[in-house]
Every structure is written in C-alpha cells, then in structure tokens.
Symmetry: C2
Subunit: 404 residues, 2 copies
C-alpha cells in the first residue's frame, strides 16, 4: 500500500503562463478577425495598450505578425493594422484511411503548400508506417524546395485516423482498423520525423479544418457531422475541440438506432449512413481513386435504390440533427465529409425541412441551423495539419499550463 495517494489537481500558472496566454490570444484574435491595430487588440482583449504594444512587437520580431499600411479611421492618429504572417509557422497533417494515406503541409493561415498521397499496403501498420514515413519525407523535401525557411518553423505533425481508440471491437466490422489502433503509431512517427505528433480521429480533424477555414470559422459552438467512410462528429464546444474522457467523443456512427418497422431491433447508425454503406449498395470499390466521380455519376443518374437510400439516410440524419441540437444547443451544425460535394449538398437538401428543436428560435443567429461544410478527400489531412497550429497558438491549450 502506498502512503501517498495520487492527488488530482489542475495546474497553477505564473507570469510566463499568463504571457504565453496573451500571445496566443493575440494570434487567435488576428486569425478570427483578420488584421487589427494594437488599439483594437487592446480593446478586444482587455489588456492595456502598452501591454499589447509590447506583445505585438515581440510577435513581429518572431516573424508571426506583420504591419499593414496605416489606415485613417476618422479623428485621431491613423491605426496600423497587423496581420498574421502566413509563413510564420508550418505544420504537417497526415490522414491514415483504410486504403490510402494523405499528407498535407499548411502554413499559419491554413494555405495548403504540399499535398501528397500514397496507397497503403494491405499488410497493416508494420508495413504501413514505412510508406507513411516515406511519404512525409517526400513532402518535406518538396516543402524545402518551395520554402527553404519552412523546415525551421514546423510546429508539429497531426495524425488523423478513424476512431474509436482503445476499444474492444464492438461489432464485427471490417471497416474498423483495429490493427492500426493498437499499434504504437504516434511514437513511431515521432521517432521517424523528429516532430511533435498528436493523434485525433478523422471527424475531429475535419472539425478543426472547418474551424480554421470553413463554415465554423470564428464560431465557439458548432457540431460538425463527418460523413465519410464512417460517420462521426467533431464537437467544437467553447471554441475548443472536445474529446471526452478518452478522445472518443463524437462517435455518433456507433449510436444504436431503431430499425424502422422492425420492432425493437437496433443497428449502428453508420451501417446506413456512411460512404461505406453507399459503396456496398452501389457495389463500388472504396479504394478506387475515382470513387468520388463514380458516386457523383450515380447521383446524377439516380435510380430507385439510390433514391431510397438517400431518403433513408436523410430521414435518420434529420433526427440526428434534431438530437444534436437538443443536446448541444450549438450555433450551427455542419455536414461535412470525406464524400463528394454533390452527395453532401444533396443530403443537406434532402434533410430539409428540419424537425422542430430548441435551435428553432425567433432571434436566429446568422448561421443556418444546418449547412454544408468542406467536402473533399483532403479535408481530414488539412484538419490534422491544423491541430499542431491550434495547439501551438490556441489560447485554450495553454491558459492553465505553466511554461516551465
């Protein structure tokens, strides 16, 4: 028996922590609002103009912000707005999907500089990691050719892959990537690249992408339904991605829903509502590179089987949207995915009219209750890349932490 209990407590903070927090606040404010003057920042953050001035000066020295031409805004001295420097930081995103892996390198403002993909060999993670590390090496080489300074400013590597993590297989499911999920992937990639590596599930990554440069930009409460090979959600709560106790929050594909008309039988939602289900229905090969085009073709062509499926999925998602609104009271819900734009748009249209819910308020904010988000095979990799940037520059991650 050990005398010393393990003590649960949050971290204290100090001057350095406060300072780091304030720097991140500034960067976040510039990201959300575009260019702002020092005076603007002082008003918005509640800090004194002097403090803001010092911080901005330092950020400029670090190459993270840059002044624009001064603008006259009525009386008084003209303001000098500052904007983020796109080349101030870079990050790598890596998506590991069932059959392919994609990598993306973005800069501080989310521009995609490099974009590469590779087929994953069927041998599982042991062989897969070799392919992955090779792909990352190539991407970094391409980056170096394009922006020689960038390598020094790489802040990390984000990995996104299908969840859930650390779970006993619930139902026998060829889509789940059990071997990958039990492999020490992060350590191996960190070793192989020398970068800080973090892992999240694909829906969370898609939500991060929406927040950085999609429909959730600047929103603090948004739910992103990720319609891809599986079905999940990325939860943006209080301006932060919520992961739950074990980083598996948002796995709505695993919700057991009643099968209509079939008594009390239940089935996981993603058995209907997912690209995997659609591929099965249309007899398409999910590893086919031209999959998106094939699906789009099928949608144009139509057909009773497809129409029935869409109606079925839309009806289920309609109730899902209503449930998510009731549970989260968000500003908006975004349907995005690793699925063709045509399909996402069709689904958003078919889900209408939405069911009544608490989101149906008179003083409705500008955002629609449900909107389409990014629909692109690259959006997960993009979101994965956004994660290290968020970690490095997002105030939420640091407010409570000491800076050693």
């Amino acid at each position: 028996m050990d005398r010393r209990r393990s003590i649960r407590a949050k971290s204290g903070t100090n001057l350095g922590g406060a300072s780091a927090h304030n720097r991140r606040i500034m960067i976040d404010a510039l990201r959300v609002n575009g260019a702002l003057s020092r005076a603007d920042l002082a008003r918005a953050t509640g800090l004194t103009p002097q403090a803001v001035s010092n911080i901005i000066e330092e950020l400029a020295l670090d190459g993270l912000v840059r002044s624009q031409a001064s603008v006259r805004r009525g009386r008084g001295q003209p303001a000098t707005p500052y904007q983020l420097v796109a080349e101030g930081a870079f990050a790598i995103g890596l998506q590991i999907d069932r059959h392919v892996t994609r990598t993306v390198i973005v800069n501080l403002v989310g521009d995609v500089l490099i974009q590469m993909e590779a087929k994953l060999p069927p041998g599982g993670p042991t062989q897969g990691v070799v392919v992955i590390l090779d792909l990352i090496r190539k991407a970094r080489k391409a980056l170096a050719a394009q922006a020689p300074e960038a390598e020094k400013r790489l802040v990390g590597l984000g990995v996104a892959m299908p969840g859930p993590f650390g779970i006993n297989t619930l139902y026998d499911d060829p889509w789940m990537m059990t071997a990958w999920q039990n492999f020490p992937l992060i350590d191996r990639i960190a070793e192989g690249t020398g970068l800080e590596v973090a892992l999240q599930n694909d829906a969370a990554a898609a939500a991060t992408a929406e927040r950085l440069l999609g429909a959730a930009h600047g929103l603090d409460h948004a739910i992103c339904i990720y319609f891809g090979y599986g079905l999940g959600t990325g939860l943006i709560l209080n301006g932060e991605l919520y992961g739950g106790a074990h980083s598996n929050a948002g796995e709505i594909g695993m919700i057991l829903a009643l099968v209509p008309g079939d008594g009390l039988d239940v089935e996981p939602l993603e058995h209907y509502a997912s690209m995997a289900a659609l591929c099965k229905l249309l007899n398409l090969d999910p590893s086919e590179p031209e999959l998106f085009g094939q699906v789009t073709d099928a949608l144009m062509h139509g057909g009773p089987k497809l129409d029935e499926w869409i109606g079925n999925v839309a009806q289920r998602l309609r109730r899902t949207v209503q449930a998510l609104e009731s549970i989260f009271d968000p500003q908006t819900i975004i349907l995005c995915g690793g699925a063709p734009r045509t399909l996402i748009d069709r689904l958003v249209a078919e889900i209408q009219p939405l069911l009544p819910s608490i989101a149906d308020r008179a003083s409705r904010y500008p955002e629609a209750r449900l909107q389409a988000g990014l629909a692109d095979p690259w959006s997960v990799a993009l979101g994965a890349a956004a994660e290290p940037i968020a970690r490095t520059f997002d105030p939420r991650f640091s407010a409570i932490l000491k800076t050693a």
Copy 2:
C-alpha cells in the same frame, strides 16, 4: 453603417488573473482531495512550494482554509495538512418549479444549513416573485440566527428552473413555464436581495450538485440525466458545466424519438420518460406534497400499466445512455432526479443490461457506466446553491478573466 466592426477575442490576463487562478486551483484541489499539505499542493499544481505557502497563508487569513494537526509520513519534517473551512463561504440556492419554490443555504463544503419551501401562487411570475423574495428573506433571517457571521460571506444566489430559455414554444405543453421564462426574473431577484444572481436550468443544477457532493465528485467528464417533472441532462465536460450557445444544452427531453411500431411518428422523449408522464399515467396530482410517497407506494404495489411504463421508459433510456456514451465518451453517466429514490433505483436496475458502446472498454475506470445519483426534491435547489460557490472558487471560471 458603423466603421468599427465588433471584434471577437478572448480576454487577456495579467498578474492578478494568474494569482486568482492559483487561489482557485488550491481551493479546488482541497475540495476534491480533502486535506492536503502545502508540499502536496505544490507537487499537484506544479507551483513552487514558496508560492503555495504564500497563497495558503493568505487563504487562511481570509478564513477559507484551516490547518489540521501535523502528520508524520516517514522521513522528513511532518506535513501540516490544510482543509477547507466550511464557514468560509455561503450561498443561496433557489429552485422554481411549476407549483413550488424551494430555497436552500449551503456553506463552502456543501452542507445544507437552511431549507425552506413555499407554494407558488397560480398567478405567474408577477405574484410569484413576491413569494420568492419573501421566502429568501425568511431563509436569510434563519441563517443569521444560526450563524451571525454568514451574511457577510454570502457569495451569491443561484436560481434553477426548467428550461429551455428564450425559445418559441415548440409543442403545446402545459408543463413549460413560458411566462416565467420571459420574465426579467434575475434582475428582480438581484434587486430584491442585493446579491449576484445567476440562472441555470434544473438539470444543470442537479449536475452541479452531483459534482459538488454526489456521484460526479472529482470527475471531469460526466453526464447527469435528470429525471424530474421533465427530462434533461447536465453536461460536465472538462470539469465544467457546459451550457451551449444559449444555455439550453442538455435538453434531451426534447429529442424527437421514434414511436416504436408506429411507422415514422416521432414524439419528444419526455412525453414518455418523466415524472409528468408518470403522474398522468397514475392520475396523480404533480403539485401534491406527498407525491414521492404516492409514487413509491405505486411502485411497491406494481401493476401491469406501471410495469409496462417502466419497461418502456427503461428501454428508451437504455438507448439514450448508449447514445450519450457514444457522443460524449464520459467517465460515467448518472441518473438523478427530482423523483423518488425508489423510482431512480428501479430505473437504473431496469435499464440493465446496457447496450454495447465505446464506454464498454476493457480497462474500465472504477466508475460504473451508469449509476444512480441524488434523488431528492431538494437536489436542484442544492445544485443552484452550489453554482455561486463554483463561480467564485472554481478555477475554470476565472483562468481567462482579468481581475480589474
């Protein structure tokens, strides 16, 4: 057109903010872990022993912590543990229900000192506020008689009432308290009492109570299903109560669920699963003071109608629990409520066995997936009282805020 856009940014922080944060960290650590020595606190918070020493000294001076007898723990100088002083702070909780209002006064550690209720006149809020203010006045008088120092240490008043707030009535519902929800209640109570007043819905208050001294004590990720007159949830995410964009998060009673066997008809969950539904079924008067006893009697007695209802509700809640687990990945789910203990326990039992979900992991944490929480007509008022204490002493509320 106004030139100056409204700028969205988080607040900066300064020395005072860091200091306030650290004070709250200490109090929070003592609340969760019981008595701790300064050295323990230093290790747990990451602050230096010196910093902790100073903070604890100040807290002791403020009458918020008190030293215990020193304890020998092996080699080295014996440690002096510090504990929270129960009389260090007081708060008032107020529950406004359909037919009654209840008030409770608690101290810093959540002991109930005063407990009073009054019937609400049917005339709506205009007359109701008079009753409420009178009830609070009486409660404060009783407190003054019992603890003369307490009045000076009142940190605020929390109000809990059924939500949702600011919504157009969705379905015609005699249980909704529209008149109350559109009344400037907080302002009137703040005026009448001279205290800081905050409003939350009853499920959120129940969750706060669970966190302060119930099954969610010390947990950072827990979902409290509140089974009362209506049905709702209090969401404890990252150790903090989550309210959503408009403080209406958690309204699961409004989720439209399929009516089994009836094609695609949907109905709000709380039309089945709530005390209101049960009262309707058993022809009981919900305003009856002896309601809990009556329900308990009925449960003992049994009967096919009641058994069917319980089975029905349990089956729905079973799926609800599975859905909440999939969505939130919490440490535990707690079924609590403004309902008799007998009913809550019966439901928890009937909901078993739980459906498979991501919470069904091999390395299951000590908490059960589903457990019974507080079941007591006073728990909402208690939670309402806990809110001002949390606001005043919980680190989360202040980490980001300046202290003027």
